[in-house]
């Protein structure tokens, strides 16, 4: 019960970490060429996908009158600009409409996925409201948090009622949970202390894995490819490592035992830098892997529209297919590596003096 509380509190702190995402004011420049070539439109499509969005957008088609019909799920927009402004993102009409809210006017810049303040005619006036919207990424994180909460609550309950024998979905998840305990937590952290970290390791593994897998669905979410999300995850690892560290850990950083005094002095700043580099590499690795995977996958799909012949199209289809399979592997691998390295860092923090 305590572990469950701990896990959920971690997930909710993640959601708050995302509010870092609220952006500051900066100038904008829009100079779109009149006729867009196929290549540039695909490039724009990819860069737009990599960003956060204000609605779940699947596709659109044109009806008989040539009007675009969108298949999408609008999400609430919450702006803070001398008071709260709350409206649904469907009113933004993908940057084509100006939204009036309590005397202020807002417009979405479609290419940047950002909402700007405008005057009555819809001209940008170089002002950005603080954006606390429930965007696609945040909605997905909440969705995954709720899913994980009920999934693992249910699994724990079924274990108790079945006297320790897993049933249903538990048969799939039990080996994974045991693998994390027996192959990641115990060897790295040690028999004595691993229990304190298990809830974090399990939460972070399934959280990253589920989000990575969701990124490969046609929903087009790119949550773990968002640097704010990976930053929050790495920040939690950083905080847990340093707040639970024993004196042995700090001793190894500031006064490395067993080396001459001169080297001790040289080593201390390097080791101190390492404290920050470790979680930083964690955040960059997850972010860059998922981001790069999405770019490659979308580029290969985009190639199908650039090639205008059967050979090129079928070739890029086959390539995109194989990259998708590799991406499924990468989704699991990155979750595994994040958990593994977190466990390794926790292990450094609680290692006892035995040499």
């Amino acid at each position: 019960m305590k572990n469950i509380k701990y896990s959920t509190s971690i997930l909710f702190s993640l959601i708050f970490g995302l509010s870092i995402y609220a952006s500051s004011s900066e100038s904008i420049s829009i100079d779109k060429p009149e006729s867009k070539a196929n290549k540039t439109s695909i490039k724009e499509y990819i860069t737009h996908h990599l960003k956060d969005n204000h609605s779940y957008f699947l596709t659109y088609w044109k009806d008989k009158t040539g009007k675009k019909v969108y298949l999408e799920l609008p999400l609430p927009v919450i702006l803070y600009d001398n008071g709260l402004h709350i409206f649904m993102s469907s009113r933004l009409k993908h940057g084509k409409a100006i939204v009036e809210s309590k005397g202020n006017f807002y417009k979405l810049n479609y290419d940047e996925s950002k909402i700007y303040k405008t005057d009555k005619e819809g001209a940008f006036i170089n002002q950005v409201p603080l954006d606390f919207s429930i965007t696609k990424n945040i909605a997905t994180i909440i969705l995954v948090a709720i899913l994980m909460f009920f999934l693992f609550r249910g699994l724990a309950n079924s274990f108790q009622t079945n006297k320790g024998i897993s049933s249903g979905l538990g048969r799939f998840f039990e080996p994974i949970i045991l693998y994390i305990r027996d192959e990641i937590a115990i060897p790295n952290i040690g028999e004595k202390k691993y229990k304190n970290y298990m809830s974090f390791l399990l939460t972070v593994f399934f959280f990253v894995w589920f989000l990575n897998m969701l990124g490969l669905t046609p929903l087009g979410v790119n949550v773990t490819g968002n640097i704010a999300v990976t930053f929050s995850l790495a920040l939690l690892t950083f905080l847990i490592t340093n707040l639970t560290a024993n004196k042995n850990y700090w001793g190894h950083i500031f006064w490395m035992p067993g080396v001459p005094v001169l080297i001790k002095i040289v080593l201390a700043p390097i080791e101190l830098l390492g404290v920050f580099i470790k979680p930083f590499s964690l955040l960059i690795r997850l972010y860059a892997n998922i981001q790069a995977g999405h770019i490659v996958l979308y580029s290969l799909i985009g190639l199908m529209f650039i090639f205008n012949n059967m050979i090129g199209q079928s070739l890029s289809f086959v390539l995109a297919f194989f990259i998708s399979i590799i991406e499924i592997l990468v989704a699991l691998l990155q979750a595994y590596i994040f958990t593994m390295l977190s466990a390794l860092y926790f292990g450094f923090a609680v290692a006892e003096e035995d040499h």
């Binding site: 590499s281 690795r285 892997n289 593994m340 390295l341 390794l344």
Partner: protein, 63 residues
Amino acid sequence: MEIPVIVGGGLVVIGVGIGIGLTGKGAMEAIGRQPDASGKIQVAALILAALVEGIGFAALFAL
């Protein structure tokens, strides 16, 4: 003549490719010599590959 920045990206990828290749080579040879220890070797190889890759990504983002 000015060298375009993207050449640096290519160099980074070459370096990371060599690094991960050597990691994999070492792991394969180690498993060949000690098939019993394949689990431990795999874990170590994955971590090392991830570290090499991390440096590569850091360099690519600095471009």
